[in-house]
């Protein structure tokens, strides 16, 4: 498994390298000392797992994640949990507290292997989004999102009960989404086709779509024809 180490401290990188040397399944393909370097390396080296420090000069590990189109598996490493990483949804990621205990690292790597299935790589549609809204953070599986709505230059994500705001435009997001699954319903919204419960014809050729979470979305006349073509069985 290809791994990238992101940490601004050379000694911390050295220490993690040494700890990882005991694990044959991990092949360290590179290191980065700040988030710009990290972004570059993630795009060029396509690591499957990134060991990511949180506090770094020029931007935090979270900042890096919000800028990535394709997010590898992430294991956070932090000396002191000022950001509450330990309270994250641990199914989505793991974290290691520095100094890292070899046993704890082994557990994290086991977990990584156990959940490794479903190979994703660069160029394939967006599968996971990292969203930071105020003090809260989420790893959101894109297929679980029912609606993306434009809000100014940002996108409001409707994901279960949560409504986090994503810092990109709807158009930029649309180009990364799986067109088999997501459909541009109107100028403001992209809907998840899997989350449609029912639909009915509206005035002037529009379509009213009811989603599984009870929400209603209108498909504009312009898009309705295309929608019918896409969904006709």
């Amino acid at each position: 498994m290809k791994a990238l180490i992101v940490d601004d401290e050379p000694l911390a990188r050295r220490e993690l390298r040494r700890l990882l040397a005991a694990h044959r399944s991990i092949q360290i393909v590179g290191e980065a000392g700040d988030i710009d370097e990290a972004r570059e390396r993630i795009e060029s080296l396509a690591p499957e797992v990134v060991f990511l420090d949180i506090q770094m000069p020029g931007g935090t590990g979270f900042d890096l994640l919000t800028r990535l189109d394709w997010i590898p598996r992430i294991i956070f490493t932090t000396a002191y949990d000022r950001y509450g990483v330990t309270a994250f949804d641990v199914n989505a990621l793991d974290y290691l507290l520095k100094p890292i205990e070899p046993e704890r690292l082994a557990v994290a790597l086991d977990k990584l292997r156990a959940t490794a299935g479903g190979e994703t790589h660069k160029g394939s549609p967006l599968e996971q989004l990292f969203v930071r809204d105020g003090p809260r953070c989420w790893f959101i599986p894109v297929r679980d999102v029912s609606v993306f709505s434009a809000e100014g230059n940002y996108v409001r994500i409707q994901w279960g009960q949560e409504r986090p705001l994503l810092g990109r435009s709807l158009a930029a997001l649309e180009s990364k989404l799986d067109p088999q699954r997501f459909f541009r319903a109107n100028r403001q919204q992209i809907i998840n086709l899997e989350s449609i419960r029912s639909m009915e014809l509206g005035v002037g050729g529009r379509l009213h779509v009811q989603l599984n979470d009870g929400r209603e979305v209108q498909i504009s006349r312009r898009q309705a024809r295309q929608f019918r073509e896409r969904t006709t069985v």
Partner: protein, 368 residues
């Protein structure tokens, strides 16, 4: 351990309701029983009619009930229980005399109205061998005893409750104080620095044991210095800079070539005295918000000199240009400002100058 005190603090409102219920029950029961004893005694031993006895003792007991309740209101309002014992004693003696006399007068008045004698028949029967004026005096003693019993019971309960409340309050205060001390200690220990330093040491142990040993020694120094520091303590600049040097050496481990330090300390400044941990706090800030935030790092300047009996310390560091100027000074700087103000008054000052882009200058002026 921290929870032991919370076990004591039953919600205040519930406690208040409980004491209030107890008070009213005792008040009704006490005066009711007194009425029943006196009125029935008067019917049995003095051949009085029930209606006359009930009127006389009913009047006395209702008055007693009202007057003692009034006294309770005064005691609470005047917070008599918080007074020193002698002041409480004087007030209570006056209140007792006034209350007993009023009850005495009411008894005489009602007795005159009902029976046309100034001594109530039951007391007259009880003290029949005494001359009339002494009977009247004993009637006063009777009122006094009733008053004393009420005051005794009331004060007994109220003082106990007051003591209990005070104890709970003390426990809560102690708990708050503990929590505040703990928070302070945590902030002084700077956990982010501590764990990063430990991580650095772990990395060095195998390849560079000598550097690892040196780092452990320096870490021990900084911890000892931090733990020993007392709020009001003054140390020489030289002593404080020893701590700062250990700290910077440890930060140098993790920041590597990103951190350079230039020191310019005048000899007379080295011997001047400063509040303990003051320079250290400024240095920590300079690293945390300045050099550690810069990819290429930078040079930290520490300057100290004395002029016109004034010590000036300057910590100058680069900082990210894009970083917004913090809207608050941060607790570390605020605490330091407050500390030097308490220790030196208006002759001292601490200023953080962020007016130049990309540079932060912290300046302390103290009387040398």
């Amino acid at each position: 351990m921290l929870d032991s005190a919370t076990g004591l603090s039953v919600p205040r409102s519930r406690q208040r309701v409980a004491t209030s219920v107890a008070y009213w029950a005792l008040q009704f029961a006490g005066w009711g029983l007194y009425f029943r004893a006196q009125a029935s005694g008067e019917v049995i031993f003095a051949d009085a009619s029930w209606s006359q006895a009930a009127t006389l003792w009913g009047g006395v007991c209702v008055s007693g009930f009202t007057l003692t309740h009034l006294l309770r209101w005064i005691i609470k309002r005047g917070q008599w229980l918080s007074l020193p014992p002698s002041a409480l004693l004087i007030r209570m003696l006056l209140a007792i005399a006034l209350l007993a006399s009023t009850l005495h007068v009411i008894t005489i008045a009602l007795s005159l109205a009902e029976y046309n004698t100034s001594v109530a028949p039951i007391l007259g029967a009880l003290y029949r061998r005494l001359p009339p004026d002494e009977q009247l005096f004993n009637q006063f003693i009777n009122s006094l005893i009733v008053t004393l019993i009420w005051v005794g019971l009331y004060l007994g309960f109220a003082v106990q409750r007051h003591r209990y409340d005070a104890q709970v309050h003390r426990a809560e205060l102690a708990q708050l104080l503990n929590a505040a001390e703990l928070r302070l200690l945590k902030s002084q220990l700077n956990p982010h620095f501590l764990f990063n330093a430990l991580n650095g040491v772990r990395a060095l142990i195998a390849d560079e044991p000598a550097r690892a040993q040196d780092a452990v020694t320096r870490l021990a120094h900084t911890l000892r210095y931090t733990l020993a520091a007392n709020d009001g303590e003054l140390v020489t600049v030289a002593r404080e800079l020893e701590m700062v040097n250990d700290y910077l050496a440890l930060e140098g481990l993790r920041l590597a070539d990103r951190l350079a330090v230039v020191r310019d300390i005048a000899p007379e400044a080295a011997q001047a005295r400063v509040p303990v941990m003051l320079i250290q706090t400024l240095i920590e800030n300079a690293i945390k918000h300045g050099i550690a935030e810069l990819k290429e790092g930078g040079t930290l300047r520490i300057e100290a000199h004395v002029a016109n009996a004034e010590l000036t310390i300057q910590i100058i560091n680069p900082r990210p240009i894009s970083a917004p100027v913090p809207h608050t000074q941060g607790t570390g700087l605020n605490n330091s400002s407050e500390r030097i103000r308490l220790l030196f008054g208006s002759r001292a000052s601490l200023r953080l100058d962020l007016s130049r882009p990309g540079v932060a200058t912290a300046e302390v002026r103290l009387p040398a």
